[in-house]
Point group: C2
Chain length 78, copies 2
């Protein structure tokens, strides 16, 4: 999975979809932290603001919760 700037779909939405898929597949596991914002920036070649936007979507969807200074954690599926 990678980002395509020419696809019309916003980059932050593409990144959110990548993370959703990784959560759904179990690649990102409950009670474990996602890669840090810095790591996501480097891995996907996007800006920090774009990462924040994607994470905000996952928070609104109830997929993750954030602990400031620690990381972004995956909720256990109900």
């Amino acid at each position: 999975m990678s980002i395509d700037h020419e696809r019309g779909i916003p980059v932050y939405e593409q990144l959110a979809e990548i993370l959703r898929a990784q959560i759904a597949s179990g690649e990102l596991q409950p009670e474990r932290a996602l890669p840090s914002g810095k790591t996501l920036v480097q891995r996907y070649g996007v800006a920090r603001g774009t990462v924040d936007h994607a994470i905000a979507l996952l928070k609104e969807e109830g997929l993750v919760y954030v602990l400031k200074g620690k990381g972004v954690y995956v909720f256990k599926r109900s």
Copy 2:
């Protein structure tokens, strides 16, 4: 009403509160557009992204609606 960067409360929240008060008082009227992002930037000395954040709060609260390419409009109170 003005922004105080030393108050601890995020500037975007302060700006949102200013706009809420102006809506509540009737200074900003239903079906009329808010001042543009650029105007808010100049009037309150904040950044465009901060204005966007404040406006996003008002949207989530159902106080305003956005017409892309036109402006941010105040909902009529129910």
